[in-house]
Every structure is written in structure tokens, then in C-alpha cells.
């Protein structure tokens, strides 16, 4: 397994529509594992294949606390949506920025897992937001095109206090 390079906004690969996955090859399985590792290493809550330069319909999501654990979504399809929520989103491909996006409150999605077994998942609140954000990537859509009220900078909490601790 390895960490993959994250593509940053401006890279044309982020604006392309991804192809469906017909079968899970060893190469694609390795991609899924690398995406999961990369997402966790970057403290993301979701990552889509085009964000690491691969135009296939694969996304991983893990919202951590309060979520169902790591999810692999291959060929995800939105079956139904209900209600509306408004909240802030950020994206590993748009570093240090965030913005307010309206999303449905409650969704049902059908997808395959890494073994190509079909499953359905119901999600609401933040999990619904994360899944829809990643599904947008698969159609070449960045959240920045859906932001209301403009993007704003968020402080980077990394790289502070790089001092040695002694006890």
C-alpha cells in the first residue's frame, strides 16, 4: 500500500466524468486501499478516485466519530433524497478553504463494495453530505461550484509549536 498524490483544483482530471467499474481487478483493489490510507493520512473524511488522478467511479468515506466506519463506494447511485441541510465543507483538492453548501438531509445510495457486492446505505446529516460530496467528484463537480456566500480561508492548525517537548 502507498500514499497517493492528491490532485489540486485546476488539474483538469478533477473536472472529468469517471468511468464505471466493471470488475474489481488487483490494480483497482490496490487503488481502493491506497485511497483509504491517503484519506486517513490527510485527515480527510472522504476521497474520490479522480482526486488521485484515476477516472473510475470509486470513492471512500470515513467520517470518524458518529459514523459507520470506513465505507468503500464503487459505482454509487443516488436512489432517493429528502429534505435539506446547510453546512460547511472543505476538500483535500482545495486546501485551506471551506464554504457553505446546501445538500439533501437524508439520502439512500446503492453501490458496490470492494468485493463488488451490491449494498444500499441510508445516510443523513454529515454522512449524507460527505457521500454526496464524493459522488459529485465522480461527475467532475467540485463543491466550489455549489458554494453559497463564497469560499473563505480556514486556519491551518498544522505546523505550529514545532518545538521539542521535554519532561
Amino acid at each position: 500500500m502507498a500514499l497517493r498524490q492528491i490532485r489540486i483544483q485546476g488539474d483538469p482530471v478533477l473536472e472529468k466524468k469517471c468511468r464505471e467499474v466493471k470488475e474489481m481487478t488487483p490494480r483497482l483493489l490496490e487503488l481502493v486501499q491506497d485511497m483509504m490510507e491517503t484519506m486517513h493520512a490527510e485527515s480527510g473524511v472522504g476521497l474520490a478516485a479522480p482526486q488521485v488522478g484515476i477516472l473510475r467511479r470509486i470513492a471512500v468515506v470515513d467520517i470518524g466519530e458518529g459514523g459507520p466506519g470506513p465505507l468503500v463506494l464503487v459505482n454509487p447511485v443516488l436512489l432517493s433524497q429528502e429534505g435539506e441541510q446547510e453546512g460547511a465543507e472543505g476538500c483535500l483538492s482545495v486546501p485551506k478553504m471551506a464554504g457553505k453548501v446546501k445538500r439533501p438531509q437524508h439520502i439512500v445510495v446503492r453501490a458496490q463494495n470492494e468485493k463488488m457486492e451490491t449494498f444500499e446505505i441510508e445516510a443523513e446529516d454529515f454522512l449524507a453530505r460527505a457521500i454526496l460530496h464524493e459522488m459529485d467528484h465522480l461527475d467532475g463537480i467540485l463543491y466550489t461550484t455549489k458554494v453559497e456566500g463564497g469560499l473563505y480561508e480556514v486556519e491551518d492548525t498544522d505546523d505550529e509549536d514545532e518545538e521539542e517537548e521535554t519532561e
Binding site: 473524511v45 470518524g64 471551506a98 460527505a130 492548525t157
Partner: protein
């Protein structure tokens, strides 16, 4: 996708600013919540509760941490110290957050801030606390009551010591316990504009719980509202937020028709406005304060009130104003103080006060009394008040004042409801104690200038 904001990082930065950089808790928190307006309700509630709770119980949290860590809290790096405090608060008081999440998030934060070699320390101590927090040995209530009260109610030991000496252990515990309960909002009804019953009906129609306050017939305790500025009665200018103890100042001052009054430390203006209202359009009230911005805000409040017999002006209470000499029937000296009476509303006050700072405040309080006592006409009234608890800034100052200036204490029993009368009120002063009285902590004394 990424989380737009890590709420725990926000909590940590707020705590750092308050505990390490002298930020005032209510101001820092208000500023941060304004900045992160776009966060959802749940995240905002988490930030508020974790910050306020960690501050309220800080000494208790430190005590717990030190049962499990060989490094004392004061020797830890500031960031680690505050990270440990907010994490232990979540472990102990927030059931909705799983212990494992608290530990994992704390480790991640330590790592993000460059403390790689402390990951093990943070993780180890927090996991041990999560496992062992039911077997903690607490200070013994009978053997060391001072330490016991200090830890259990997170009040610095020097303050507990003085309160026990003055009020006894039981009363001290009652007061400390009260500070750990949410303080109700008390409002004063502008009876010149509207009847109390109309206001009660109006508030209830909005679904707000209203209770009449036992001490004053125009005071109401309200709860069950989200945002006071949105409450109809507030928008209509019918009510003003003011603690019952502060309302007692104008009650005890008891102005007569046509009296000239000076409030020498008036901002934010509640007591001066109350006095002006009681004058029913007659007389005059000068609302003085040293701060230009505060005076500007008082001018706006006066404008809103529609009262014509009150005026705000910038004046320093320690610079003698010749033109005011012997002009006032009533002088209010509501002096700057340690604020220990309002800890229930501003949790960090207690940690920031030190004996040295208190000594400084006492010097200032006496300087103000010295400067303004001459504004009182012979036969006129001086009301001295503070929002703190303890003899040093209250009774001792009065004693000093009586020894040096031509004033006498006057009974205030005639202005108080029966529940508030005791042997001190007959003597001319009253120390309000939360839990003992239904109010914030407050002190007031009524002094008459000899004729």
C-alpha cells in the same frame, strides 16, 4: 471531503487564549462563535459547553489529571495542559462522546501541533483516567475542608480560605454549589411604560417561562428563550436585563422627587437608568464613566429609554470634579471590583484574581471613595456597592471610610422586603450571597453625610 473545522481545535485555541493569554471567557467565546457562524448548531453547542465546562471545573480536572500523571499540570506545556483538561472534561461530563474518541482526537491534536514524543503520554494518561476515574481518592471533607471545597468546586484555595473564615464552611459550600448551577436571567420591567402583568402575559404568549421575583414586584425571572434580543418584550423596550441585587441599589438609594444624583462608575448604565426612572421625570442623573466607548453605549441606552432626566458623560472617578462638589443628593459608587459575585456568569474570573490584584483594587476603591465623597451634599446619601463577595473589598472599605470621612451608616431595612432583612441591614449594609439569597453575589451599603 474534509471537515471544514475541527471543533476540538477551536475549543483548544479558545482555552489557550483564556487561560494563557488573559482573554476574557465571555468575550473570546462570543468572538469565536461569531466567526464560526456557519457551523451547525451541534458543533456550536459542543464548543460552548466544552469551553465553559472546562473553565468551570478546571481545578477539579487538574486534580484528576495529577492523580494519573507524574508531571504536575503546571509543568506541562500550555498546549498539552489545556488539551488534557478539555479531554478529561469530555471523559467525565459528556456521556455522548465515547472515551475512545476523546483519547484518539487528543492524540491527533498533540501530533498536529508537533508534540510527537508526547503522543504516548497523552494517550496513556487519558486512557488510565477513562478506566480509573471511579476510584479517585478525593480530599477529605473533614480533615482538609478548604482543599476539599477548592477541588470539588474549582475555587482557588486562597478565596475558599477567606470565605470559610468569614462565612463558615457550610455557607461557603452553599455559595460554591450555587455557582455550579445555571444562573437565571432576571429582568426589570420598565413600569413607567407598561404594567408588570402585561409583560408577563406577553412573555408567556411567546412560550417563555416567567416567574415573579420574591424580592421586588417589578422583577421577573425568565427562562426558556433562545436569544433575548429576539424576545418581543425586549424589542419593545419593556424589560431590561439586570440582576436583582443591582436593582436593589436604586431601591436603597430611594430618591426623592427632584433629587440630583451622580453615578460615578455608571457603565453599562443599568443602575443610573433605574434611578432616573424612579425620579419620574424630575431631578437629574449624571451617568459618569471613564471609558469613551462605554459612555457612547450608555448614550444609546438613554436614547432608547426615552428618559429626559439622565445624561451620560466621560469623567474619571479618581479625578476630583470641583463643579460637582456638594451638589448631589445621592451619589452611587459602584466601584470596580474582583467580581467574585458573578462567577456563575463568568467562569474564568476566579482564576485570574490574586491577592496582589485584589490589593490593587482595594487601593482604587478607596481612591474613588476619597475623590467622590465630597460630591454628596451635607445630609445627602452615598451608596457604595460591588459585585464581589468577602470583607476585604466591602466591610473593610466601609470601616476605613467611616473612620476618615464625615459619614454614618444608615439602616436599609425600610427599603428591603422582610426576607432580606438581617442584623447587618439594620446596620446599613448587605452582602448578597448566591444560594443564601436568590441573587448574584453583591454588596451594598447606605451612608449619610453628616449635616
Amino acid at each position: 471531503m474534509t471537515d471544514a473545522v475541527n471543533v476540538r481545535e477551536v475549543v483548544l485555541s479558545v482555552l489557550m487564549e483564556i487561560t494563557e493569554e488573559e482573554g476574557l471567557s465571555h468575550l473570546v467565546l462570543r468572538r469565536v462563535l461569531e466567526k464560526y457562524q456557519y457551523l451547525d448548531k451541534r458543533d456550536r453547542a459542543f464548543i460552548t459547553r466544552t469551553v465553559e465546562g472546562t473553565l468551570q471545573d478546571m481545578l477539579l480536572l487538574d486534580y484528576i489529571i495529577e492523580r494519573f500523571s507524574r508531571v504536575p499540570v503546571y509543568n506541562m506545556k500550555p498546549l498539552i495542559r489545556n488539551l488534557m483538561r478539555m479531554s478529561v472534561y469530555q471523559l467525565r461530563f459528556m456521556d455522548s462522546v465515547p472515551d475512545s474518541a476523546v483519547c484518539n482526537e487528543a492524540v491527533k491534536i498533540a501530533q498536529r501541533h508537533g508534540f510527537y514524543n508526547l503522543k504516548g503520554f497523552v494517550n496513556g494518561v487519558l486512557r488510565n483516567i477513562a478506566r480509573g476515574q471511579d476510584q479517585i481518592e478525593w480530599p477529605d471533607k473533614n480533615e482538609d475542608p478548604c482543599r476539599y471545597l477548592s477541588v470539588m468546586y474549582s475555587m482557588p484555595q486562597w478565596i475558599v480560605e477567606r470565605w470559610i473564615a468569614q462565612f463558615g464552611q457550610e455557607t461557603t459550600e452553599t455559595v460554591l454549589k450555587r455557582f455550579h448551577e445555571p444562573a437565571p436571567t432576571v429582568v426589570r420591567v420598565m413600569t413607567e411604560k407598561v404594567s408588570v402583568q402585561t409583560v408577563i402575559d406577553d412573555l408567556r404568549a411567546e412560550g417563555i417561562q416567567v416567574e415573579r421575583h420574591p424580592y421586588l414586584d417589578y422583577a421577573l425571572e425568565i427562562s426558556g428563550y433562545n436569544y433575548l434580543q429576539a424576545v418581543g418584550a425586549f424589542k419593545k423596550g419593556w424589560i431590561q436585563v439586570q440582576d436583582i441585587s443591582s436593582m436593589m441599589v436604586a431601591e436603597v438609594a430611594a430618591p426623592n422627587w427632584g433629587d440630583a444624583c451622580i453615578d460615578v462608575c455608571a457603565a453599562p448604565g443599568g443602575k443610573a437608568l433605574h434611578l432616573a426612572e424612579k425620579l419620574r421625570g424630575s431631578g437629574s442623573v449624571q451617568a459618569r464613566d471613564i471609558s469613551e466607548t462605554k459612555v457612547a453605549r450608555m448614550k444609546e441606552a438613554i436614547e432608547r429609554s426615552g428618559l429626559a432626566n439622565i445624561e451620560a458623560m466621560v469623567r474619571d472617578a479618581v479625578i476630583y470634579d470641583e463643579s460637582a462638589a456638594g451638589t448631589a443628593d445621592i451619589v452611587l459608587a459602584d466601584v470596580p471590583c474582583s467580581g467574585l459575585g458573578v462567577i456563575g456568569r463568568k467562569q474564568d474570573i476566579k482564576y485570574k484574581m490574586t491577592p496582589a490584584r485584589q490589593t490593587e483594587l482595594i487601593r482604587l476603591q478607596r481612591q474613588i471613595l476619597h475623590t467622590v465623597h465630597g460630591y454628596v451634599k451635607p445630609g445627602g446619601t452615598l451608596i457604595y456597592s460591588t459585585c464581589t463577595i468577602g470583607a476585604d473589598e466591602n466591610q473593610m472599605n466601609i470601616k476605613w471610610f467611616l473612620e476618615n470621612y464625615p459619614f454614618v451608616l444608615e439602616s436599609i431595612d425600610g427599603y428591603l422586603c422582610p426576607e432580606l432583612r438581617d442584623r447587618t441591614t439594620k446596620g446599613g449594609f448587605l452582602q448578597f450571597l448566591p444560594g443564601v439569597h436568590r441573587s448574584d453575589g453583591f454588596f451594598l451599603a447606605r451612608l449619610r453625610r453628616r449635616g
